[in-house]
């Protein structure tokens, strides 16, 4: 898609046509992901950062001037998201790096030792940013707002990281997704 078409889409997005977001996402996300992957060198992390970048693009959509190209604007936001994430990580050793040091709550009726080992093993394989969100929310009891504040990300991004972490954990432990009707 050429730059003129992207600018037009962005103009429509600003004026309230949300469907333009899909087209912008499809056109811009691969480049942003390539850039973020080159910085983060971790596919899961890059995916998270792409999501966060689009959240910030949404927040900052009023700052786009359609008389200028879209990509430098989007890239500047992606770079900002990456730098903020890196700065936050360097200041925040508050989620345990070693999952073996975690005291994991396991149901009484379960074969506790085996279950703990299994949960730790799976947790160790979850992408670090997602694992942090899962541990902080589900084990340490922090709210998503607190997690977002500490990580310097949007609350929505904290929720996304946690839900993706849980989904990954489920897949690793081969736990079927619980349907609402079965609850």
């Amino acid at each position: 898609m050429d730059d003129q078409a992207l600018r037009e889409l962005m103009r429509e997005y600003q004026s309230g046509r949300f469907e333009a977001f899909d087209a912008i996402y499809a056109a811009v996300a691969p480049s942003l992901r390539r850039y973020l992957l080159s910085q983060a060198r971790d596919a899961a992390k890059a995916d998270d950062l792409v999501q966060e970048t689009f959240l910030q693009i949404h927040r900052a959509r009023h700052t786009f001037d359609p008389s200028y190209p879209l990509m430098p604007w989007a890239m500047a936001i992606a770079r900002h998201v990456w730098l903020m994430d890196r700065r936050t990580l360097s200041r925040r050793p508050w989620a345990p790096e070693d999952v073996n040091a975690l005291e994991l709550p396991v149901r009484a009726e379960a074969a506790s030792l085996a279950d703990r080992v299994e949960v730790r093993r799976a947790l160790g394989q979850v992408a670090p940013s997602r694992r942090d969100a899962v541990i902080q929310h589900h084990l340490l009891g922090f709210s998503f707002k607190e997690i977002a504040d500490r990580a310097g990300i949007a609350e929505t991004a904290a929720k996304l990281r946690s839900s993706r972490g849980i989904a990954q954990l489920r897949a690793l432990m081969k736990v079927p997704k619980v349907r609402k009707a079965e609850k």
Partner: protein, 218 residues
Amino acid sequence: MTDDALRLSQELRDRLAADFQPVRPLRSPWMRTLVVVPVAVIALFAASITFNVRSDAERLGWIGVWGLSVLQFAIGLGVVAAALRESVPGRGWSRAAIAAWLAIPLGAMIAITLFSWETSQVMVRRQWWLVAGLCFSGSAATALPVVALSAILAARAYPTRPAIAGALFGAGSGLIADAGWRVFCHFGEPAHVLSAHLAAVVMSAAIGSLLSMRLARA
């Protein structure tokens, strides 16, 4: 892109759609700088209205007093406009340009001070620290409303380098405030102006930088 990421983009889309509203695109940095002008004009006249016009005004003439102050004021507004452009993603200045924008207030102050000193040599003879303290605090305090308004305007954009944007609009605001303060302060001695008055501009830049970082985190 991975399937996982594509699936979650749908989740993201739903979340964004939930609080979606049309927005009015931000005006150009120059247009947004015009919002600062009324407060900046008050800062320009504040000291001379509250106290008086400098005692050597006759010797300096209209150009030496008001002409140079208006020039300094215009340069200050230019630096604020540069800061508001810096606040827009993708419109940031290069390192060389940032250095130039920060050097402009310094150069302008030195040039205006030396020009005034050529025409009228009024030295601080007694209690230089008291005079310096008054000029520093007065000039810095006058700059605060301009710094605050510029900070709000910059934060409404999306500064990806808030410290730099803040330092720029702080320096610009300091220059604007000092343009007014020099109309009142008749001590044209370079040692006084380039310490007390310049320190007020540096202080404004530091306050602007801190305020901008604070607002960017909020």
